[in-house]
Amino acid sequence: MGAVDLTQFHKTFFEESLEGLDAMEAALLALDSGSTDHELVHTIFRAAHSIKGGAATFGFAEVAAFTHVAESLLEEVRSERRGVDGELIDLLLRSVDCLRAMLDHTSHGLPAADADSEALRGELVRLVSGEAAPAPAAATPAAASVDGWAIRFVALPHLLQTGNDPLRLFRELQQLGQLDVCRAFVVDAAPTQLAELDPGQCWLGWELRLHGAVARADVAAVFDWVEGDCELTIEPIAAASVAPVAPVAVAPTLVAPPVAAPAAPVASPAPASAPRPVRETAAASSEGSSIRVGIDKVDALINMMGELVITQSMLSDIGEHFHLSQLERLREGLLQLERNTRELQESVMRIRMLPIGSVFNRFPRLVRDLERKLGKQVKLELHGEHTELDKTVLEKIGDPLVHLVRNAIDHGLESPEQRRAAGKNETGTLRLDAYHEGGNIVVQISDDGAGLNRAAIVAKAEQRGLIRPGQEVDDAEVAELIFQPGFSTAAQATDLSGRGVGMDVVRRNVRDLGGSVGVRSQSGKGSVFTIALPLTLAIIDGLVTAVGEERYIVPLISIVESLRLRPEMVRKIAGGGEVFHFRNEYLPIMRLHRAFGCNAAITEIERGIVVVVEEEGRRVGLLVDDLLGQQQAVVKSLEAHYQRVQGISGATILSDGSVALIVDVCGVVRLGQRGKAAA
């Protein structure tokens, strides 16, 4: 029986530890907001303890050492020897961050500890060992007054089956102080026949001595996990106690024999395995490449599949002996098939849907940190955490949301003094909402702050040449200005107190997901940013257009308007470009047949139709032959069997079975510019 390759469990350890840290963070934040629930402290403690145990098992000594100190601190809180204050929570939150970084480093095979983590660990150590932790009223002997502890540890036979390893416990003890093994013995009840020996059972006991000024609680904590799986006595060593008998170094050989015993046939009935220590694992946080799907969703799929099979057999039955009199039945069957297919499609899509709560979860922490940093008071309200959206969308919406939340606190909400002066509650409210609306998910970030600083935005825009000095702009146009590329950087550099840090990036990210972002603002009352996202990236609403013999799908979300131009509306400009006048601006005309090299397309602009599309704040008119109608298109990748093609974002299958390409508006615009540059 070879040594178990522990590396196979590393991934699970990291996942569980990160989940543990999330749970810790959430509980710390709950404590911070004034909750006195004692269970929260236990949750934090358990999470830290699991991480420590795991890290020690896998030999991540730095992580284990760091967690150990944090755990000692938590133990003081748990036993109510230390009160909870903002400072402590701050420190623990920083420890959570630090541990996250350490785990990240470790998972990439890098050294976990760095200067920061060591500094933080030092801080924790000072807090634990040193200063004014009021002496506990409990009868726990103060650590300094004992020389060490005599530990008698007898494993119950099923100890190994609960996933515990005595060797690991000893290693942990060793970190506390000098550890001597006085005696290792075989339990009397152990089987005497070799054939009865089961390598899965442990019949060993140890008498240990741990020297050094160690708190009893720390020693006991090491054995927390084996509680109920062993007989344990811990007694202080009297000053005049006998000297340790022949100290034996803790070496793997000590425990190896029973574990590595020849695999005898399992003769002795295995004792019912003790309940494993309950681990708290957060249900959320599934950013990996796999998704956890609720069993109800899978059941729904199976049901649907069953119905589909029934419909199929009915149809094939009709098809086998078809007679015209059965036409009505056939039609019914086809209708049923259509319904089944639609339901199946919906169910399959639902598998990819995850609640937005996993993204919302990171905001309490962010808000707390910003509050401290900016000296503001913010009340965060989260609504609609259970709203589900496509996993791909979910993964990409996080950053834009963080951006908006940060902006809202930084620029939107005023300082407590300003708020008081304005007759508002000193604590500002930031509200995140998520809900379904039509085929979209809407996420709203609203604050009751000062609203957009109109004057500053207009001044900035004039300075940047985005609008003419003295030009009249309405509120909608002001709102539009903050999404202009470049507007933000300038705002940031001059520390202008209007919104707009990277708003163009936010808009671009949301657009990439096929969504839109807008803002409503009322001076002095606050602003509301609204993000509308498609439920899924797999299906888009598109306009089917004809160009020559080909069909192209233009995503509906990019379309501003479609119109037929009269010849006199078209102007030629230097270099052969064509423009037309549209709502107070001149838009370039992009001939799709030319960009895509289509045959037999209409080349006279007045006979075709111009579809005005907007992307990244730029508008162009796409010349197509005709509009064929609106359609939901299931997006298929060209890359699956071919490669990326510029100007095309994918393909879809039309109702006649032929393939139509989906226009990537951004790409086409770039294609046009390149064509012009080449010409």
């Binding site: 069997h641 071919y642 393939v659």
Partner: protein, 168 residues
């Protein structure tokens, strides 16, 4: 390739097809389907030999004209024109050929290397030459057919780069 345990020499089965009067073979294990010619959807920004894509039971599969790929005259598509759908590393693509002829067993040891024809004839898509019933069959290297042009250009340039390095 079929592993025969009874000691007989393993043979490779090839699907042979006709292209501009010559016979070519493609490993039958990479063939997924043979279908008649149907209209494809053109894709912009692609080389001429890539005719477009078609819908193969929901998958968007690129189709290339082997004549154009080999720099031969384009032929109008008729009733016998077929598309062979092949799979390379789970990616599907179709090749348009004049006609499919047969499935033949070929002894791998009888496969001869393609002679160096110099720059005049493009032989990089051939794996070897085999003889079957006194006819020569050119064995197609399907892996190389669908590789993006830039990879090919790079491949072509590599030997020269090495020479330069040696010279330096």
């Amino acid at each position: 390739m079929h592993e025969n345990t009874d000691g007989a020499a393993p043979t490779v089965q090839q699907l042979t097809f006709n292209l501009a009067g010559e016979e070519y073979g493609v490993d039958i294990l990479s063939v997924r389907e043979i279908r008649g010619w149907s209209r494809v959807t053109r894709i912009p920004q692609t080389p001429d030999h890539l005719l477009g894509v078609l819908n193969l039971r929901g998958a968007i599969v690129p189709i290339m004209d082997l004549r154009l790929r080999f720099g031969l005259e384009r032929e109008s598509y008729g009733d016998s024109t077929v598309v062979i759908i092949v799979a390379v590393a789970e990616r599907l693509f179709g090749i348009v050929v004049d006609a499919v002829s047969d499935v033949v067993d070929i002894d791998p040891s009888a496969i001869k290397p393609v002679p160096d024809m110099g720059a005049v004839v493009d032989t990089r898509y051939l794996k070897g030459l085999a003889t079957h019933v006194e006819r020569m069959v050119m064995l197609l290297d399907v892996d190389k057919l669908m590789r993006p042009e830039d990879v090919e250009t790079l491949d072509a340039a590599l030997p020269h780069v090495r020479e330069v390095e040696v010279a330096a």
